[in-house]
Symmetry: C2
Subunit: 162 residues, 2 copies
C-alpha cells in the first residue's frame, strides 16, 4: 500500500504476484464474492465497493492474492455476479481473462427454498439440483419440485446470510 | 476507480469527499471494523487486508464514504483495533486524526461470556459493564462476575461470529 502522488486520501493498492481480480461485480456483492473465494490467512486482499463504472453505473471489485478459482468457485461467482470479469494474475501480469457465466445446471452449491422438497428430507440421498431459467438476474429452478430460486435468494445463501 | 500509470494490476481507489479512513488495523480485522462502521447503502468503501506496514508488519485499512464515527463506534473500533488511526475526511482532505484508544469502561457493546453472570439472566435489568485491564491485546473484565474477556472474544463478538 502506498499513497499515489498528489492524492492525500487516495489508496494505491500494490500489485500481487499471483492471484485473481474479479471486476464488474454488481454493487453491494463484493463481500459475498470474497466469502466464496475464501482467501488463505495472510493473503493480501483488496475490495472496492460502489466504484464508478461506465458499464454498470456502480460496481464492486475484489482482488485476492494466492487464490486461483476452482471450477466450482467460478460457477458460484457467476451465480452472484453474472457479468463479472475474472482476471487471473501470474507473475504480476494478467495471463487470462474469463467471463463469469452462470452454469446451465447447478449441483450441490445451493439448497432448495421449498422446505418440503425431497432434497430437504433428512435421510433422502437426493442432492439439490437446479436448472438455469434466466441469466440476468440469475434465476434457477429446482428440477425436483419446480421451485424458483431468485437472484436475491442465491446471494443470500452464498453469502451465508441464511 | 482508475488504473495507476504503469500498473496493469494496480487498483487506484479514488478520493472520497466525506468519510473516514481507518489505518493500522491489525491484519485480518478489517471486516470486523467494516461491520461496525455499517456504511450506508451505496457508499463507496475500500478495504485492504494484509498490506505491508513498517509499524505492524502487516495491517488492514478501511475507507468508507459518508460515515462519521459516533463515540460508541470509536470505542468499538478501539476494542478491535487498539492501535488504529482514524482519519476524518471532509472536502477531500484529512481534517482530523484520532487515535483509537480503548475506553476504560465498556458498557452495552459486549456481553459477558459467563452464562451464569447476572447480566445474562433474562428479566434482570443489569446491563453488561466491563473494565479495561490491559490495552494490548485488549483485555476486559466483567465488573459483576470478574470474568475476563480476551481480545479474540471481543473481535468474535463485534464481528457477529457468535
Amino acid at each position: 500500500m502506498a499513497e499515489c502522488p498528489g492524492g492525500e486520501s487516495k489508496l494505491l493498492v500494490s500489485k500481487i504476484r499471483e492471484g485473481t481480480v474479479i471486476d464488474h461485480i454488481p454493487a453491494g456483492r463484493a463481500l459475498a464474492v470474497l466469502k466464496l473465494l475464501n482467501p488463505p490467512r495472510g493473503a493480501r486482499v483488496a475490495l472496492v465497493m460502489n466504484a464508478e463504472s461506465r458499464k454498470l453505473g456502480r460496481k464492486d471489485i475484489v482482488k485476492v492474492e494466492g487464490v486461483t478459482l476452482t471450477p466450482e468457485q467460478t460457477a458460484a461467482v457467476a451465480l452472484i455476479a453474472p457479468k463479472a470479469t475474472i482476471n487471473i494474475i501470474k507473475n504480476y501480469d494478467v495471463v487470462e481473462k474469463r467471463r463469469a457465466t452462470p452454469p446451465r445446471t447447478v449441483k450441490g452449491i445451493l439448497r432448495c427454498t421449498n422446505p418440503t422438497c425431497i432434497t430437504r428430507k433428512p435421510g433422502e440421498p437426493v442432492k439439490p439440483k437446479f436448472k438455469l431459467v434466466k441469466e440476468e438476474p440469475v434465476t434457477l429452478q429446482c428440477i425436483y419440485c419446480g421451485t424458483i430460486i431468485t437472484q436475491e435468494e442465491i446471494v443470500e445463501q452464498l453469502s451465508g446470510q441464511t
